[in-house]
């Protein structure tokens, strides 16, 4: 089983909202001290999905990340978790892309990797919350795709996927090769072991530039965008929170109920 997992480095989405700022004028998210870069959580679920298949029936997993200034401690996490190879599409030309240019570059890199049975992506990335790159890669490569996977079973050259829907889930079957986007219901990603972390430290990622995957810089990154961003801003929320007090927590609970009645909410 040959598997490819697309991962991404993002600003820690678990950081408190108060530490989130946009740099005025640049329309970019400010890198405030104390807020770290991490592997995108949805990408971690995708890595976990691939590792479970590898645990059950063996195989090889290649992770790909795209961007600039990729911190090795961050992008090597899939290796530490048990992935076999890491490829970085690391070049200024890949920077500033949208779903289109990103999916295109990743698809061309996957083509270069060669034979694969399953390509995994997270259901969406925690920065742009678009959820398009997986479907885009599948379309460019002419593969079937199943999105929002909660559970994946592989047998007899087929994937049976529990896909989340608005009212519950559906079970979808597809022959390999296929692309699958993974949702958090798949279950907690494993922690890297000390052995895994040591092995990842020693392993150098393969770095591919645009020419290595046969793409013209005009098709990727900022130049390859189809969507123009006009503005990035933080909506102002103006709420005056009234703290309801009490001698004891119980009394505060009672006062809250009384307050709601008084305010005509109940």
């Amino acid at each position: 089983m040959n598997m490819v997992v697309c991962v991404k480095q993002v600003i820690d989405p678990e950081a408190p909202p108060t530490s989130f700022r946009i740099d005025l004028g640049t329309d970019k998210v400010a890198q405030l001290p104390g807020v770290s870069l991490v592997l995108d959580p949805y990408a971690e679920y995708a890595v976990e999905a691939a590792l479970r298949i590898k645990d059950a029936q063996g195989g090889k997993i290649t992770a790909i990340a795209l961007g600039t200034n990729l911190l090795r401690d961050v992008v090597k996490k899939p290796l530490a978790m048990g992935v076999d190879e890491l490829i970085l599409l690391e070049d200024e030309a890949f920077e500033g892309g949208d779903s289109w240019s990103t999916a295109y570059a990743l698809a061309m890199a996957i083509k270069k990797i060669g034979a694969h049975d399953i390509i995994f992506c997270g259901r969406e990335a925690s920065d742009w919350n678009a959820g398009q790159v997986g479907s885009g890669i599948a379309e460019i490569l002419g593969l079937p795709s199943i999105t929002l996977a909660r559970k994946i079973d592989i047998a007899n050259g087929k994937a049976t996927v529990k896909r989340g829907t608005d009212v519950g889930y559906e079970v979808v079957e597809v022959s390999l090769p296929t692309l699958i986007t993974v949702s958090n219901e798949i279950g907690e990603p494993r922690y890297p072991t000390i052995k895994g972390i040591m092995a990842a430290k020693k392993k150098d990622p393969v770095i591919w530039k645009p020419a290595d995957i046969g793409v013209n810089p005009s098709q990727i990154g900022f130049s390859g965008r189809r969507i123009k961003m006009h503005r990035l801003f933080q909506p102002v929320r103006e709420v005056n929170c009234e703290i309801i007090e009490g001698e004891t927590p119980e009394e505060a609970g009672v006062n809250l109920a009384l307050k709601l009645r008084e305010a005509g909410i109940l």
């Binding site: 989405p13 678990e14 909202p17 989130f20 779903s99 969406e124 925690s126 920065d127 742009w128 919350n129 678009a130 959820g131 398009q132 997986g134 479907s135 885009g136 079937p144 795709s145 199943i146 999105t147 929002l148 909660r150 049976t160 608005d166 009212v167 519950g168 079970v171 079957e173 022959s175 296929t178 219901e185 189809r226 969507i227 123009k228 961003m229 006009h230 503005r231 990035l232 801003f233 933080q234 909506p235 929320r237 709420v239 005056n240 929170c241 009234e242 703290i243 309801i244 927590p249 119980e250 009394e251 609970g253 009672v254 809250l256 109920a257 009384l258 307050k259 009645r261 909410i265 109940l266």
Partner: protein, 331 residues
């Protein structure tokens, strides 16, 4: 060469009736179409769904394209993308809107790539730029920490719209429109996935998205038993129970109870947030609530910056007293 013209919305239904999101799309699509002085059309794809055509007209469409074929009994990416590709190439709308639903999330990106255009996912505001006449698309990003405004110069401009972000029109059964059937003309062997089973996981009682009162619980609730207390309060207020992601991941509540960026979007009259910190990804799913109340022991929790009323204290002590007092007041 023909010109791209008009606004089109992709229709979804729930048990034979237009889905709420579809009436919202029709309301928003109507405004965009009027602004452009162009027509609003709807596309209905499915099996045995001809009854929906008139409903889309009642809610604002000028005409409806209908593809009614047993092949479309289940949503399958290959068949739906192919048929929508055919419809778009035939009708050539300038704008195509879909719901940010499990169908729209799957269909919109793949269709956009197929048609060599681009989609913007999960928009909360759409407008026509007076100068360029392009659609200005606003969507939350960074899990709701920020919003971004986009436009796309390739046609059709595709956007998915978040549930509850737009208002439907008042239904008008006297509205007339043309119903135009389209042949699917699809080779079944090109459909590579098969739906083996469809399972509903709705929580009993009032649907979370429709509830006027929602009690949301976070990681701090600590257990499935804890959520029983929230259910008791919900029952009393004729509301529903929702949760942030951790309780769903822990299995204390079903995955369908998740409210937030990747879960359900709720906009009740009253949202009572219990033992949840108020991460952006969660708030993004409940920020439309009219009154927000927080019970949290952490005075620094983000939820206290967004709530109208709050109690700083341990929910295990505050909530039973609150629930009892409400029981007394309501009786």
């Amino acid at each position: 060469m023909a010109e791209y013209k008009g606004v089109m919305i992709y229709s979804e239904d729930t048990e034979g009736k237009l889905a709420a999101i579809t009436t919202e799309l029709l309301g928003c699509g109507r405004a965009l179409a009027d602004d452009l002085a162009q027509e609003l059309s709807a596309v209905v794809v499915g099996s045995g769904i001809s009854g929906l055509a008139q409903q889309t007209i009642t809610y604002g469409a000028d005409n409806v394209y209908i593809i009614d074929d047993p092949l479309f009994k289940d949503y399958r990416t290959d068949s739906y993308v192919s048929v929508m590709e055919k419809v778009v190439k035939q009708v050539m709308p300038q704008i195509l809107l879909m719901g940010q639903t499990s169908v729209g999330r799957d269909l919109a990106p793949r269709l956009a790539f197929r048609l060599n255009t681009a989609a913007t996912m999960g928009c909360v505001e759409l407008a026509i730029d007076p100068g360029s006449k392009l659609m200005i698309q606003t969507k939350p990003v960074y899990g709701g920490n920020a919003q971004a405004i986009f436009s796309c110069a390739s046609f059709p401009q595709i956007a998915t719209v978040r549930p509850k972000a737009m208002s439907p029109l008042e239904p008008d059964t006297s509205r007339k429109g043309e119903v135009i059937p389209i042949e699917a003309g699809l080779d079944p062997s090109t459909i590579r996935t098969k739906v083996l089973e469809k399972v509903k996981e709705e929580v009993e009682g009032i649907k979370l998205e429709d509830a006027e009162v929602v009690i949301g619980g976070g990681r701090g609730i600590g257990s499935a038993e804890g959520f029983k207390q929230l259910e008791e309060l919900a029952k009393m207020l004729k509301g529903a129970v929702g949760a942030t992601r951790p309780p769903c991941d822990e299995g204390w509540v079903p995955a369908g109870a998740q409210i937030g960026q990747t879960g359900k979007i709720v906009a009740p009259d009253l949202y009572i947030a219990v033992a949840l910190s108020g991460s952006c990804q969660h708030m993004s799913g409940c920020s439309g609530s009219k009154t927000l109340i927080a019970i949290n022991k952490d005075p620094e929790a983000n939820i206290l910056r967004e709530a109208h009323f709050s109690v700083v204290g341990d929910w295990k002590k505050v909530l039973p007293a609150f629930t009892n007092k409400i029981k007394e007041l309501l009786s």
